[in-house]
Amino acid sequence: MFDIRLDKVTKQFGNGLVAVDKADLNVGRGEVMCLLGPSGCGKTTMLRMIAGLEWATSGDITIAGKRVNDLPARERNVAMAFQFYALYPSLSVEDNLAYPLHAENLSKAEIAARIARVSEALDLKSILKRRPHQLGEGEKQRVAVGRSIVRDPTCFLFDEPLSRLDIQLRQTMRTQIKEILSRLDKPTVIVTHDQIEALTMADRIAVMQQGKIEQVASPHELFSKPTNLFVAGFIGTPQMNLLEATLTEVGQPNSGGVVAAHFALLGENISATVNGGVAKLASGSKVTLGIRPRSFEFVDPGSTDALHAGVDIVEPMGAEILVHLIEKGADMRCVVQNNVMLAAGDRVAVRCKAGQLHVFDEAGNLVG
């Protein structure tokens, strides 16, 4: 069913560094999978192992039902667009596009037809005769994408495809790549450290940290149900607030799978309706509460059952305002509409919107 399958794939380099640690990953036909993580998390190494540019130390890599561990890159029929485009500097754009086709022993007419099709789709017609060094960043990117889709490979790999483009180009290219990929109906793996890129382009995202895949989920699920503290803190801007608290009292979950719970948080007693799984924790357990900056709602400063804090810094972000709240040494980020009038030094009371409180246990895993 899955076109790319990684089964307990490990990569250990000669110096002992484990870049990828027992990674399991499946990418289906027509699915766009993003590998997302901070620098050095092993995402590029994983991509290069699928490509055949690095050998896996152990585990199985299967592409289109065939185990490819022992196949060199040129026999895997995988197309890859590189971060720095890796266009062939001594060849014209046209010859760059034709290069992958030579290996397929196609007729001249067929090669010309394929190049025409790709240059049409990516608007490369006017630059076919130019050399890579005569191209702008956006054009180079389009040629790199063109060169990867000109063939009929088993899957597509993109390494940080948009990282070198300016913001405007990035948005147009993002849409363009997404559109092209949706037509190709091939499994695609995209490596990125930019979560906006991942959230917008991917069908599913694999979040990686230190060689391990922390969570594989759809963008929506990743955002609404981060499986552990790393994913919770990594996905979403501004970052999710992670506050240490103690579970003081918890009831029995109702039929809707939720439960009323009380927490001691920053010296105050807060009640919230949370995931039913919390009922399994003993009262008195240490937990970490995750609240997204947009999950706060402001309540009357005199309210009980709310978090009281002082406004520290106010940062306008256009349509919204980022407010830093500070209380007992804990810094909380909170995003509000730009019509809310706040000044540094104000005392406010906030509450987490119903159903948007994430509870993590002592080990840092989501309770649920």
Binding site: L53, F82, Q83, F84, A86, S90, Y99, P100, A103
Partner: protein, 291 residues
Amino acid sequence: MERAREIRAIGYAGWRRTLGAGIISLAYFFPVFYIIMTAFKTRPDALAMPIKFFFTPTFQNFYSVFLRADIQGGGTTNSGFGLYFFNSLFIGGTSVFLALIIGTSAAYGFSRFPLRGNETYLFIILTTRMLPPIIAIIPIFVLFRIFGLSGSYTGIIALYTAFNLPFSIWMAKSFFDDLDRDIEDAARMDGSSEWSVFRKICLPQVYGGLAATFVFAVILTWNEFLFALMLTGTETRTVPVAIARTIGGQVGVDWGLMSAIETLFIIPVVIVTFLLQNQLLRGVTFGTIRK
């Protein structure tokens, strides 16, 4: 900021500096100019004091390079210089060409498929370049005798090839090291064998650098005197040796003739350098300007 200003200043040095540079260049070029001038002078003009800058030019010296007037009778004798020029071109060209082919292949190997102790091998190769060549002359002379290579093209070409190899390997390796590996990976993914990666992707990127290496090696070989003197025979004599042999004799030094030979000797180097000047510039600055 400081740096930006300096970059902008290139090409806009102002007339003062340009003039200064011009005068210094003239001073350096003057001996060469003087040789070329003397080549066109008659014998009395060449020896005249003070130096004559205005004279009636003659091509007699150039004729004499190849055909020498007999001392008795009106005939001429072939001086052998045609052969010597051919020898210099043939020996120099072949050996440098060979050194580049072998050196480039070796350098690619050293750069892309490093051996255990790669650096040590490279250092050993470099040390052959550190020794003053004269140290090796006796063993080489003896070896040439034993193998009957003295006076043969094979011998001197093999020797020059060996002499140019370390330089070619080190230059070419630095060019290959500077290349973007992603481009090669891309070619591999596009179905290229290791050989096509080298031939179609890597090699075209270092042509400029190789051209520079070619020029340096050609100049070095073209000027080589010591080994040529010891190891070439009458049939394989190169121009530097032949020039040395024209000094002396019963009639003193014929400065006009000598200058004519030297002028002819300079021409091929000038042509090669001018033809490849763009590549030369790119070759020596290779790796310093990136992306």
